[in-house]
């Protein structure tokens, strides 16, 4: 099932994923943290789509001469649909997150994760 390109794709996406996770773990700026999550998500998309792609098959679009659903001729459309959905969800989450960061910044004047101390026993 794996083609020769797949390990390379896996490695690259893993590297990106690792960098992104590192960003999540060490960056103090909330904005950058959310950005890092987006990058990590993208790395996963790359991993999935890249590993799923088989050279030589047609794109699963009806216009390109494909008349029926047959995985033998075309690329499996399901992962692409999945990734599209996931991208949409990712955008929604990022948007919500960033809007909250903005609100938070307006209320407190900072957006550093290590300074978030509103909650806990003493408050």
């Amino acid at each position: 099932m794996f083609d020769s390109l797949h390990p390379l794709i896996t490695m690259i996406s893993l590297a990106i994923f690792g960098v992104a996770l590192l960003g999540v773990l060490v960056k103090k700026n909330l904005f950058k943290i959310f950005l890092a999550f987006s990058v990590a998500e993208s790395a996963l998309f790359l991993f999935f789509i890249g590993n799923h792609y088989t050279p030589g098959l047609k794109a699963p679009i009806a216009a390109d001469g494909i008349t029926r659903f047959d995985p033998a001729f075309m690329v499996d459309p399901l992962p692409q649909a999945m990734i599209l959905t996931t991208i949409v969800i990712g955008i929604a989450v990022s948007a919500l997150g960033l809007s909250m960061v903005i609100r938070y910044y307006k209320l407190t004047g900072h957006m550093r994760i290590d300074k978030m101390d509103e909650l806990g026993e003493e408050q």
Partner: protein, 465 residues
């Protein structure tokens, strides 16, 4: 009648929001009660399986088994009570959207039989939870919501990773088919998948090691919303985690690991609550403890224990929702949720509510918690799991220490504020107290349902062992 109604109706209500902007609380109430009614009528037709769209490999399947029926009924009931409680407040857009989306999310989580679908509902419930956490729109609320979001995003990465690995290896998304083909996967990848799932769902289920963020989120949210989280959100993930575990036939040692984690969840959370002075955090710790207890029961994969766990899920959801709603009432009147507030109000009714709630949590007869704890202990005794029994009984004493510390606040304090409850509030709390008492005195009917559900939930798990 279609199972999709449970998902589509609330979503529809959200889309049509502009048409009844001023009456959202009424709409929410009517809707959730209608869904509750709908759930009740489904009982006769169990189990219901429904396919949407194309043929099997690509189809989206929903299944209402007796266990998901139990949970859907619980969720719609909780939502009804929550909406009824909010009837006297003005219409609130964010609350309406958040709670209804949360309802969609949790119902979807228990109904879906397709792992990608589950991911979608995972995200829907997460987004609505973030939204609900930030409801108060102050620094505290946003701080909590952002914290929640970062952790949630982390969890969803792992969930996504596991889905991708599954699809890449066996090319299916339907849970039943995954279960059938799971053995075909390379053992190491299998382990990676299970571990990713555990991290993702463990964060959401609030298990030990992955739950350190929970008290903050509960503290940031409004009390009533925390009640909803406690009653619905954590319960749906609890179901999901163990549903997957049974379905994928995880090994005995992996189950034992879950047992250990659950026991730790229970013990550490209850211990942590002991000296806390913030009621919301105390209740959050207590929720964690009960989740640990339920997970402990489920991790044995035994019919009697699963039955007890399901019963406990229902009882705990009711009791916690009641406590959080009552706390919300106090928070609105007194402007604080510190444990000192128990010394600052005067209301026999609310005192009774807190007392009944606390006694039920503790599993003290004649309230429902006792029936749950008893069947739990009976189940453990049947498996000769004496260590777990000893742990439960010992840690319960710690639980008693902090809950009774709260209750003893009633008789301190000089200037007390008289808190009066509206007839509707009295009705809601009265019904919940009565339900807890009734379930304590006559647990058999519900236990029978739970038994049926437990068999459905375990499926062929036992056969594999």
């Amino acid at each position: 009648m279609s199972l999709l109604l449970f998902i589509l109706l609330p979503l529809l209500a959200i889309f049509l929001m502009p048409f009844y902007r001023a009456y959202l609380h009424y709409v929410s109430t009517v809707l959730s009660m209608a869904l509750f009614g709908l759930a009740l009528t489904c009982k006769a037709a169990l189990p219901l399986v429904e396919r949407v769209a194309v043929d099997l490999p690509l189809a989206i399947t929903f299944e209402l088994s007796s266990v998901s029926w139990l949970l859907v009924t619980l969720f719609t009931l909780s939502m009804s009570l929550f909406s009824l409680y909010h009837l006297r407040f003005s219409s609130n857009k964010a609350l309406f959207v958040g709670t209804n989306m949360l309802l969609v999310g949790v119902i979807g989580l228990v109904l879906s039989r397709d792992i990608f679908n589950i991911y979608i509902f995972f995200e829907i419930s997460s987004i609505s939870a973030y939204l609900l956490t930030s409801l108060n729109q102050d620094a505290k609320a946003y701080g909590g919501a952002i914290r929640y979001m970062i952790i949630g995003a982390f969890a969803s990465l792992f969930f996504l990773l596991s889905i991708m690995l599954i699809y890449l290896t066996i090319g299916v998304l339907d849970l039943q088919m995954i279960a059938q083909r799971f053995n075909l996967i390379d053992e190491q990848v299998q382990y990676l998948i299970l571990l990713s799932l555990f991290i993702a769902l463990g964060i959401k289920t609030e298990l030990f090691g992955l739950n350190f963020w929970v008290p903050d989120v509960y503290q940031a949210s409004r009390s009533a919303v925390s009640g909803l989280f406690s009653a619905m959100l954590s319960k749906s993930y609890l179901f999901l985690l163990f549903h997957l575990a049974y379905l994928l036939h995880v090994s005995t040692s992996q189950m034992a690991f879950l047992t250990l984690v659950a026991a730790l969840t229970f013990a550490v959370a209850e211990f942590s609550a002991l000296k806390s002075r913030e009621t919301k955090r105390i209740f959050a710790f207590s929720t964690l403890g009960q989740i640990g207890l339920i997970a402990l029961a489920l991790s044995y994969g035994d019919t009697a224990l699963t039955e007890a766990a399901l019963f406990l899920i229902i009882v705990h959801a009711l009791a916690k929702l009641m406590l959080f709603l009552a706390l919300d009432l106090l928070e609105r009147r007194l402007g604080s949720t510190k444990s000192e507030i128990f010394a600052r109000f005067e209301s026999l009714f609310l005192m009774a509510v807190f007392t009944v709630g606390a006694l039920s949590l503790l599993g003290i007869p004649p309230f429902a918690g006792f029936a749950a704890k008893l069947s739990l202990l009976k189940g453990l005794a049947g498996l000769e799991a004496y260590g777990a029994m000893a742990l439960i009984l010992t840690v319960s004493l710690i639980e008693a220490a902090y809950l009774f510390r709260l209750l003893s606040g009633f008789r301190q304090g000089e200037q007390k504020m008289v808190v009066t409850l509206s007839p509707l509030e009295r009705l809601i709390f009265g019904v919940m107290m009565f339900a807890l008492l009734l379930l304590g005195l006559m647990p058999q009917p519900l236990l029978a349902l739970c038994q049926e559900a437990a068999q459905a939930m375990l499926g062929g798990y036992h056969a594999a062992l």
